[in-house]
């Protein structure tokens, strides 16, 4: 049997933490190679302009590279099979036009970054400034200067989803709720920005690219395609990566340019993104507009949902999936965890002169959750019912599982209404309601809000094929190799950048083989040492890579048993592998002894058994449409109606992610996600002015939640193991970030109920709260709390 302190279900301390706590992690900027030149990019100060000419100082040849100097580079091309979509080519260094502030134009090389910036300042670009497309809803059908010439409009894609009979629902409704919601644009803001270090290895005839990326293998595929290089001539290494959250799961122009420079130069080059570059050019996120009409009966049962979603996607679509998935995910997830039967949704993805939008923890769902969960609360308010009850009334019930929603999501299992009840319990809702009636001594207004969601995780091929994706990340891989001394190396195609996968994957191998986790190494992030895999995103790695580790471990276990039975002179059916030994009826042999024979003493092998203990396996879950974690979040806020400030007094998460391999890591993931969701709810925003200038270029303007702003986050677990995965695991990495904007907005709404004010836009800033209160008071001046 596996040791309970180490195996599945154990809160084993994270092995990766020791090096980080001692400052011994190795991130791209920590890697020192002799002769390295630093790169600074000349970037567009304009949102939209034609380039008339680029003037490079005459003595700067081979130190300044424009698109013309790097003809090998092909424009980034996103493929999609989805109908009616447009996919513009994106030259990694701008050629004829710049399309957002920060668009790269030239790479400048110098011994230090400061000197590279000096050089960049000497490059002048002659621009013909064009009108910027900034307001997606206004400009989607066309504008004076469309983002992409020849389109006529500014639409990447537009799709109408329809299921059931929305008109019948409208006719049968007792009440109709209409609202507009807005989730503003923000940054992914990992602790470490992007970074690339590239050099040519003449001995191996390859280009080595170190990159702070979540997806080293697909980055290699992209570099091969856009540089016209055999993949055997490209090695990509993601060393320690200081957070990704989605933006680092995409290809960036800088990665292509650095790899192209490595082919041109006889020294390494490095680019380390600074915070301003990150805020201006790394994938932005959210930026959704919603118009929702909900039809409900007098009980609060939602009969139909009619929606319009507009996603402001910026100038280009990031490789590999393009700009389409935000709107598509939002449209499919808008009906939430509810058994709504009639649904119509028009989802538009709009090109604007802003930085490209990319994935960020939750992808599309935080906006959808915000829209549906705010609407649920408004239905409840309109009927004078408790939002908790209306949630439960509409939710898919356990006995309806598996259940395919009107948005096309196939929920596998779970007790969704129980998460609402557990969350209300964690917050002690009756006590809060009493406190609320009594009022606060400091005059602030208390409110409580909930938000529920089901999170599609670890989706396989079926899901990505249905999306029309050109790349289908449906599996993961693991090579498990027992070395001659019996220690184990797991080589996996994912990338761990804070998720603790070096620990959790070792726990799975321990579960299968009984090897002490300290004798297990997990290698990831290097295309040289690992079989192909897609990387870490979409809440997939624990389920997919964990499944691959389980399978490869079992292949090894079978072989260990085969050799062990031979050594123990018994039938293979009479032995079992546990606690680091193969146990037979009359004795046992250790894995180390078997490993020695498999490598150093092949004369001890049974006839017909090959040497080596080395197995590669792939894994795709039994359901390609994903396994669904779910949760209800609850927030308690105090709102200062005079200043508009919102303080979080309490926060609770009741969730079910199936079998937890390492509950401590699960809870860390939940807390981290919730904090990012709080950032979306209250602080983070990158506004653009009418000329397309971004107004948050430093952390003085871009506010992130800090420890002082956070309550202790309570977590309650439900346990419904998945049917279609190894051990019943479900993914859960993103969920924490999905519900906080909705839960907090509902709590603010609850606090301001007596005034009649609601804030339907994130972040919920003091300015927006004060404006909402003012608007409500102008509407009904007699109400004064």
């Amino acid at each position: 049997m596996p040791n309970e302190a180490w195996g599945i279900g154990a809160s084993l301390l994270r092995r990766e933490d020791e090096r980080h706590l001692h400052g011994r992690g190795e991130f791209v900027p920590d890697i020192k190679l002799p002769g390295t030149r630093e790169v600074a990019f000349v970037r567009s100060p304009h949102a939209h302009a034609r380039i008339r000419g680029i003037n490079v100082p005459s003595d700067a040849a081979r130190r300044v590279f424009t698109a013309a100097d790097l003809p090998r580079i092909k424009p980034i091309r996103v493929e999609t099979q989805a109908p009616g979509t447009k996919a513009p080519l994106w030259p990694p260094l701008a050629t004829d036009k710049v399309r957002y502030v920060g668009d790269a134009i030239a790479a400048c090389l110098a011994p230090t970054r400061a000197e590279a910036e000096d050089l960049a300042a000497l490059v002048s670009v002659d621009y013909e400034v064009l009108d910027a497309v900034v307001a997606a809803p206004r400009d989607m059908r066309g504008s004076r200067h469309p983002v992409h010439d020849g389109w006529g409009d500014n639409l990447f894609s537009e799709r109408v989803f329809e299921s059931g009979d929305i008109d019948a629902a409208a006719g049968a409704a007792d009440i109709t709720i209409q609202r507009e919601y807005r989730m503003n644009r923000q940054s992914g803001a990992p602790l470490e920005g992007r970074a690339v270090l590239a050099y040519r290895d003449w001995r191996l005839d390859e280009i080595v690219v170190y990159a702070s990326t979540q997806t080293p293998h697909t980055l290699r595929v992209a570099l091969g395609e856009f540089l016209g290089l055999d993949l055997r001539r490209l090695r990509v290494v993601a060393p320690d990566v200081g957070g990704g959250f989605g933006p680092k799961a995409r290809l960036y122009p800088e990665e292509i340019v650095l790899a192209a420079l490595a082919l041109e130069l006889d020294h390494p080059i490095r680019w380390v993104e600074d915070r301003t570059e990150h805020l201006l050019t790394a994938a932005h996120t959210r930026d959704h507009h919603y118009k929702i009409t909900a039809y409900a009966d007098r009980e609060g049962r939602i009969l139909g949902l009619d929606a319009e979603i507009i996603v402001d996607a910026g100038a280009y679509g990031l490789w590999p999936q393009g700009p389409y998935q935000e709107a598509a995910m939002a449209a499919r997830n808008l009906p939430g965890p509810y058994a709504i039967t009639n649904y119509r949704c028009r989802a538009s993805t709009v090109a604007t002169n802003k930085a490209p939008l990319g994935p960020y923890r939750g992808v599309g769902r935080p906006g959808a959750c915000f829209a549906i969960e705010r609407t649920i609360d408004e239905v409840a308010r309109a009927l004078g019912r408790d939002p908790v009850d209306v949630r439960e009334l509409n939710m898919v019930r356990p006995e309806q599982m598996p259940f395919t929603t009107v948005g096309g999501m196939r929920f596998d299992n779970g007790d969704y209404p129980q998460s609402v009840r557990l969350c209300a319990q964690l917050l002690d809702l009756p006590e809060l309601r009493t406190r609320q009636r009594q009022g606060e001594s400091d005059g602030r207004l208390i409110g409580t809000g909930f938000a529920s969601f089901a999170e599609q995780t670890a989706h396989g091929a079926a899901e990505f094929v249905a999306r029309g994706a050109a790349i289908v990340p449906g599996f993961e891989s693991c090579t498990a190799r027992i070395l001659p001394d019996g220690s184990l190396v797991l080589m996996v195609g994912i990338q761990s950048h804070g998720q603790g996968l070096e620990t959790a994957l070792a726990q799975i191998a321990h579960h299968e083989l009984g090897i002490d986790p300290v004798r297990i190494a997990v290698r990831h992030g290097d295309t040289e040492s690992t079989a192909f895999g897609f990387g870490t995103f979409a809440s997939r790695s624990m389920v997919m890579s964990g499944g691959a580790v389980a399978r490869a471990s079992r292949l090894l276990r079978d072989k260990l048993c085969q050799i062990g039975a031979h050594l123990l002179q018994c039938e293979v059916t009479a032995v079992r592998c546990a606690d680091g030994v193969v146990q037979g009826p009359q004795g046992s042999v250790t894995i180390a002894e078997i490993a020695k024979i498999a490598h150093l003493r092949m004369d001890g092998l049974p006839p017909g058994v090959d040497p080596l203990l080395d197995a590669t396996a792939t894994y795709e879950p039994g359901i390609g449409t994903g396994v669904f974690s779910y949760a209800t979040h609850g927030a308690v806020v105090a709102v200062d109606a005079e200043t508009g400030s919102v303080e979080l007094l309490d926060y609770a998460v009741a969730e079910d992610c199936g079998t937890m391999v390492n509950p401590m890591i699960v809870e860390g993931q939940i807390r981290g996600g919730v904090v990012q969701g709080i950032g979306t709810a209250l602080y983070e925003e990158i506004p653009y002015d009418d000329h397309g200038q971004p107004l948050a270029g430093t952390l003085a303007d871009y506010l992130l939640p800090g420890a002082a702003e956070l309550p202790a986050i309570k977590i309650g677990h439900l346990h419904t193991p998945a049917i279609a995965t190894e051990y019943g695991m479900k993914g859960m990495g993103e969920g924490g970030a999905v519900a906080p904007p909705a839960a907090i907005a509902n709590a603010v709404r609850d606090a301001l109920a007596a005034i009649g004010a609601e804030v339907n836009e994130t972040p919920i800033t003091p300015r927006r709260v004060v404006a909402a209160i003012k608007k409500a008071r102008e509407r009904s001046p007699q109400v004064r709390p």
Partner: protein, 277 residues
Amino acid sequence: MKAPAFDYVRPQSLGEAMALLAKSSGEARLLAGGQSLLALMNLRIAAPALLIDIARLPELAAAVDGVDRVILGAGITHAMIEDTRVPDPSRGLMPRAAASLAYRAIRNRGTIGGSLALADPAAEWPAVFAALDGEITVASPRGRRSLNCAGFSTGIYETQLAEDEILENVRIPKLSPGARWGYVKLARKSGEFANALAVAVADPARRFCRIVLGAANGPPIVLAAASQVLAEGRSDPDRLRGAVAADLDRAADRHFDDFQRHLNIVAAARALQQVTA
């Protein structure tokens, strides 16, 4: 971003620093805590050819506890005031303000002289020292002069400092035992610059009452009408709000939008409430 190249010198005395500054013909900047200047240089907003590091000058580290006032050297850090490692003339107002200023790491290095000389409109010290009726001593090879804290800043990032002058110290009158103060900083989160900042001081024994508004799209504003309400010892909130509104009407050049105007009134009213409560 990284700063463009610059020279760096660390003089041993105030006299030497003044000589270097006078010689630099406007190309030099004084470096104290560096918590704003270095960031501005990294953003390439500031590009001085020479940094004169005055952070360790003994003359600027002096703290003198006088009979009726305290003199604090310009090089004293926010953290020293927060931790009351220097005499506090303000009966707790200054430590409270220091604790609300940015983050501890910044407070460990940032100095009061740096804050006053930079004159960021959202900074705390210009408003606090104006409310306490402090005076600033500036020194140059031409001699010394004394300037009122209220009025020292003349605009956004602008002060009365001449090119060759160094801010040497701040002289702050001691509040009487019966004095009271109010300090209200409204910011989106802890450590951020203020969206509204009001400092009220009432010291009847010295016949001194003043409400000052910081974060005012320019230098701190001494609210004359509101200060008068405070001097009358009245705590009628509507009357005070009216007085603040009248003061703000006289500051039309600050172009407060509706929200800022509203927050300013709330901050001033709450600061007064703290004084009279």
